[in-house]
Symmetry: C2
Amino acid sequence: MASSLEPLLRPKSVAVVGASRSRARVGGEIFSNLLRRPFAGSVYPVNATAGEVQGVRAYADIAALPEAVDLAIVAVPAAGVARVLEQCAAARTKAVVVVSEGFGESGPSGQRLQHQLLDAARAGSLRIVGPNCLGVVNTDPEVALHAAFATDWPAVGNVSVASQSGALGIALLDGSRDVGIGIRHFVSLGNEGDVSAEDLLEYWENDPGTQVVLLYLEEIAHPQRFLEIARRVTRRKPVVAIKSGRTISGARAAGSHTGAIATKDVLVDALLAQAGVVRVATLEELFDAAALLTTRQGLVGRRVAIVTNAGGPGILTADACEARGLVVPPFEPGTVQALEARTSITGAGNPLDLHAGTSAETFDAAIGVALGDPGVDAVIVECVPTPSTDVLDVAKVIAATRRYAAKPIVACLLGKRDVAAGRAILAKAGVPCYALPESAASALRAAAQYADAFRSSEADEARPRRSETPVTRPPKLADGGDRWLDAAETADLLHAFGIHGLQSVCVPDAQAAVQAAEMVGWPVALKIVSRAVVHKSDVGGVLLGLSNPVAIREGVATLRRRMAAAGHGAELEGILVQPMAPRGVEMFLGATRDPAFGVAVAFGTGGVQFELWHDVTLRLGRLSHRDAFAMIEAIRGRRLLDGFRGAPAGDRAALADAIVQVSRLMEAAPDVVELDLNPLLALEPGRGAVVIDARVRVRGTGSVSAGASGG
Amino acid sequence: MASSLEPLLRPKSVAVVGASRSRARVGGEIFSNLLRRPFAGSVYPVNATAGEVQGVRAYADIAALPEAVDLAIVAVPAAGVARVLEQCAAARTKAVVVVSEGFGESGPSGQRLQHQLLDAARAGSLRIVGPNCLGVVNTDPEVALHAAFATDWPAVGNVSVASQSGALGIALLDGSRDVGIGIRHFVSLGNEGDVSAEDLLEYWENDPGTQVVLLYLEEIAHPQRFLEIARRVTRRKPVVAIKSGRTISGARAAGSHTGAIATKDVLVDALLAQAGVVRVATLEELFDAAALLTTRQGLVGRRVAIVTNAGGPGILTADACEARGLVVPPFEPGTVQALEARTSITGAGNPLDLHAGTSAETFDAAIGVALGDPGVDAVIVECVPTPSTDVLDVAKVIAATRRYAAKPIVACLLGKRDVAAGRAILAKAGVPCYALPESAASALRAAAQYADAFRSSEADEARPRRSETPVTRPPKLADGGDRWLDAAETADLLHAFGIHGLQSVCVPDAQAAVQAAEMVGWPVALKIVSRAVVHKSDVGGVLLGLSNPVAIREGVATLRRRMAAAGHGAELEGILVQPMAPRGVEMFLGATRDPAFGVAVAFGTGGVQFELWHDVTLRLGRLSHRDAFAMIEAIRGRRLLDGFRGAPAGDRAALADAIVQVSRLMEAAPDVVELDLNPLLALEPGRGAVVIDARVRVRGTGSVSAGASGG
């Protein structure tokens, strides 16, 4: 079945409602753009009063058109748009782009207008782009649709772009021309009332003319759908995205007044990483990446050779590569010999400095040898014009090499002389050409990230379909509204999923504590039990290593005194007696349930170190053991698990089990909205992991429904 | 007294030795450049064979010239340069620029030639730039000296540039033109045989036409001299530097085959920070910073207001600011009211989105109000062309505001329409204008860093001169060549500087250990003593909390077994018995002595956390208490000292004392080349700090001299 976006991006006929005689008005500019770049079908101006618009016979309304059009561009004042949509529906229009502003972006009355507009569209089965957008462009010669304002016809190519901001859309199209990126489709999403970034991703997945997708996003309205679709798309073509509003003030600007969105940026990061989308922070990084990816040079690894005729830029390039997680390895001995034989350089290193006096022929030889090194995944060729080095000749050499090279090549031409001509030759040959060393490095990093994501999704494909694990039934929890579970409930819940803590007994007084200690074994730890205190250590509510009855009696008194001092004297519900924790590595394992993103599981270095270092990694959705082991390796504190500085090593397998089981728990127990195991103690390999402290927050069943869809 | 660089940068007459008829040759190009941009004095071509060069009467050698010239540019083959310098000296030439290549950069024979050249220069009291450089440029209209090749005459301005790489020098000059930065002096340093970056800094310090200094450095040959001079210069004008070779492969490219230079990058970082030099990583950041600093808008704080007519770019700018350590604070209530009254925006936030329909007048009002907010230090005005917003008019408004604004303003113009014209207006008005949000943010960060350094050097000036502390005499150390001090020597040395450890007794066997435990108090820790083991915990050489004679006897046996297992059975020199450490915060305090950089003191989060998190800060030279407290506040682990998560707080004053005393120790004991106190335990405030483990490495007195100059 053809996509419902087909009439939007490949219409056979277009009407511009609000087409104006004046090109200074939006409706006039779009109509003029459609005419100037001859659209492959018919274009009709619709104007209530004018008999002709820009030399073309105009129609009073959409009903008066001689045919049912595929696409209508609507550029009339906001108040009249819903009425136009009704007319479009009646006239069997299939898709509409609403460029008019004054909707959701401009307060409550605009929001009402937007609701009306979407109701009208739904009633008429119309797909809508916008409102409050710049329009759409399709450079496919069979279509040649320039239904947008404020931007010129872009260079034609294989990169499709969607933007939730008009201004950034313009910047993207303008910038793409400057850096030599060709555009296929451009969609300005505006308020994203109907057609969304996810819809476009799905469309572009099957569009053979689209080889790279670029997104500018301010909001991901349906994260779980985005993840599902983007994961599929990135198996076929790279997607590079800016998701703005990363920081508190950025998020405030994006519409959040509490900064809550910014705290969700870690979820966005996890989402995009799991989807295989390469996230970049700046327009420049977006262009850098696109310029390489559009040349389709295959998957890129992280080991880079740098061939240059100038020492300084070579050093800067090496710095820029390493700062971005790439590697600039020394050449293999055979490569060094071959380079010395063919370039008369002694001690050929990487970066390979051919010196200012080098010729294009020497460049040619050196690039070939460097490409042949088995330890090299990609080559950056850097050239500065000198009396002996003709940049144009070097560009020709690179272009010729590109024809047979099995590994990616990128060029970096510094200086001014002949650079424009060299750039043109490289563009034609499909070699990205940068003006700055850090751009080349940033592009290779993005490409390597994409390659990693692609390979890991291939591995996912290859692995046998997960046989449905029988779902563990969590114990029934008493409904008490939004609350923290007590110690016994927490232990029962975790126990059901195979996660165990230290044996512990909750007692009311010192005498019972002494008896409990006899039972669990000396020495013991005492901990306060109180719903009023979230972090026990904040009030000094933990005492360790008590080894006799006297110490216990003193300890209980101390805890009572501290609770009183903290103003919680009346809220001490009991004292927990536990055996002293065995030696182990303190880790953190937690989970949250977000209404939009679903379940996120976090793993990191734990104990008091958790809050100080924020050494934590996060994944969304149901987790496999493969995911769990990847999470363990993703944190810096993994070294602690190797037996750091003579301490015992930690049981990775047990940690991976715990991660998977927490993910299952969150799936099976939709009332649980937050869960922290900290510390989760990794014992020596083979001996398991044990929870030292746990907190679980649940929503009352009355309010669970929203959360139940997550996971 | 006039600087010895005066004849180099303000010569009254210039000879080009090796001036060629062909402009394709270096000597020909430089001569042609000097003629084309009419130099204010006389220019003489020196050519052994030609009677005239490019229409000017030529001379066979420098002795034949009709006058003694201030400056000679030498562009003859390397082998002939030393002879030319002798002739120059004989003819009373004052300064020479050697552009010829084939010296230090090209192997041993070139190095010999470079030595000959420098000997000849010294013998004749000649100042030399190069060899292997592009030449020098001075755009001062009174001089108009274009004595360089491979680059055009730059735009005239107040920015002076020195580069240790010719290619980067070209990129800097070419790029500066593109981003609208005007150049005053340009010096290509080449192999830096004589005239160095430090010499130029000193010259530019007193050059009123130089307002900003840009440096591209691959090596800082004399770090302590650089620090002293740069610290002085940055009190008067900003210095922005790229120092490349940051990473292992970058350093390898810069000539280090061991990566040792890269490990010194932390020293370079400390050096530049203490000198008040703004270090940037890329050419682009260098240009971003220079474009703002060249407009001399005064010192810049970190609180930024963003005024924009486009939401997306506003969000990206806020993200870019916060990612760079700037703050985008909400406006004060009075500002919000004034904005709402004057712009008809409701809920005026920062970033302030004036929407696409805004006019230049509204921009004008909004910029004025934002500048007036007492919580705002600088304003970024961002404008995208729209049907209602004329970028040209907005540029005029910004330019007019700049005339009276007491706070810095930077502009960011996105899109294409009218942007070039707007840019020109802003350039004339002294407002930096960027094409990307992150460039504006990166410039403000650099300016804020400079302002911080400037203010902190002002505070240094204001503080009363340090009364010379009576130098503590370190105890005499036995000369044993390069070695680690033993426990007693270490304790004595630290003790002399008021740094104390736990009482500890070194014993040969279990029985003596039990006696020692009775003396220092139960429970105790046992630690191996062995010069063969640098990190005790690596071999399990530390046992804690032994509380009775049986445990001690077992413990000693365990330590012997572990030493044997690690292959050091014969090297166990004794067992250290210490009381168990009191509770405290584990910090790290260390010092090293580098032959070039002198003494560096490092402070950070200690214990086993040191190696995992690398949370450490570093300062060079003699440290004051002010420095020490700044170091304590510079690390992330400072939160531990506040009493993190219910743990006791740590004694900052005692840590600061220890930092200062370690700095004094390194000054007074030049034999000490390396010192680690880890952990240094910060007890509760008022109770001091105590060393738990210390290592001190000394060089034998025979080899101390090189280090003794440090500190």
